[in-house]
Symmetry: C2
Subunit: 274 residues, 2 copies
């Protein structure tokens, strides 16, 4: 099978940085999974003894705590500081930005709208910085009953699709006198998405490699499905099904921002052999 | 001919206010036409001796100067003040708003984008308040080569279509980190436009009454043409052509924000007789 890789795919700046931080902190513990890729988390545990803990109460005070790339809530940071943990912050700088915007804008009297998934750790972190009203939505409909003031600031989860973000903004503009729009979708997301869009329209089958709990991977999968109906989301080589490739000429491959190269290489190799 | 009037049409708050101001200043002179309706300007001259002057040099210092509803440039206001003219400001408060936003935002370091017609007096006035870069555009294409900074504030000419404003905003969001959107399209414009849209889809012929140099009237005409292919822009009863009404059942009528009721009544009467 012939393989074509997307022009931009895989690890983004924030993920690379977070992994470097974790590798430089052997024996540490990350508060929540460092990135949304179970296999890479497993590698960090095996090779660097970097463990994962989901609950502050269970953290042992003799270990460095690494803040995950998606960031954590303001109250959790304050708790860690209050308990004198040694903290290493691996929050992606592109995530720190909406946190700061959220804090500053709500202090300035703006109501905050976050375009994102309320259950995603990044969004939980960002919204925790608001001191006033904050609304987390995935579509304009969810704002119909929102009691928003006349001045609204909007940010986006870093890994979302811009065209969906615009829909939220469009709705707000029609309703509010001032809408302060901060496009916090990160460049890596944008680059990976536009490359995936282009490639998926020119192949017979498309693989999106990434964690099934990864927001940006799911967005890529969504985009690829529009370009190529035979698109599949795979986490590892074990997810591949040779039946998918029957009578197909070219297989396009992209990968989420939290997918390490070693996983991608294995899959590319395997597909080439089919 | 059966006539149906749009739910909202004609004189807006700013125009009513400006006419009241002019009527209360008999013998005054307006700097540029008070509103974009030649017949109403003529009436103010005949009934209240309110004259029009286009050039500060030609103003006689013994007369009150009425600032037109579209506003004038900051430098013209300063000149009038410097020459001690008695000034009566009939600028629509909905126009004062984008002037103030433009001044404040550019002082705060934002580049300004105005969605509007660079030759319209309102836009000339608004842009004159910018202390930094300002770009006046009617479509996103015009921004392709604009050297805009990373923080942009956007306002709209008060009489423009919201859907076109959104296109400018959408383009800017994709390019810039912060876009501060001030929807300065006035409510009257919005109400008149949405009523025109609704009515034009349910009639056989549609008349839009207003000055041919009136921005909001032209927008209404544009909207009506989409709803009803037999739409006509008329300034007075003299523009009517009975041929238009042949084999038509219902005639819809709307009017721009600067169209006085007495002109509308004459036309309605005439159409009913056809």
């Amino acid at each position: 099978m012939k393989v074509k890789l997307a022009e931009n795919y895989g690890f983004c700046f924030g993920v690379k940085r977070a992994i470097k931080i974790a590798e430089n902190s052997p024996g540490s513990i990350t508060f929540g999974p460092l990135i949304h890729n179970p296999l890479e988390i497993k590698r960090l545990k095996n090779e660097y003894k970097v463990d994962v803990c989901e609950n502050i109460a269970e953290l042992s005070s003799d270990k460095k705590v690494v803040v995950r790339t998606h960031g954590i809530t303001k109250s959790d940071i304050l708790k860690l500081q209050a308990e004198n943990f040694e903290i290493v912050d691996a929050t992606c700088p592109f995530v720190t930005k909406p946190q700061q915007i959220c804090e500053r804008m709500s202090a300035d009297g703006y109501d905050i709208v976050i375009f994102g998934d309320i259950n995603h750790p990044e969004v939980k972190g960002v919204m925790s910085y608001a001191v006033g009203s904050v609304f987390v939505v995935l579509s304009p409909d969810e704002l119909l009953d929102a009691k928003l003031g006349d001045r609204v600031a909007v940010v986006s989860q870093t890994t979302k699709k811009e065209s969906d973000f615009v829909k939220i903004v469009e709705f707000l503009i029609s309703q509010k006198r001032e809408v302060r729009v901060f496009n916090t979708i990160c460049n890596a997301t944008w680059d990976n998405q536009s490359s995936a869009r282009e490639l998926s329209g020119n192949v017979d089958i498309m693989l999106v490699i990434g964690g099934k709990n990864s927001s940006n991977t799911k967005q890529l999968f969504d985009i690829c499905k529009s370009g190529c109906k035979d698109s599949y989301l795979v986490e590892s080589v074990d997810d591949l099904d040779t039946d998918w490739f029957k009578d197909k000429g070219i297989c396009g491959i992209t990968a989420g921002a939290s997918t390490p190269d070693w996983i991608i290489s294995k899959i590319v190799e395997k597909v080439r052999e089919i």
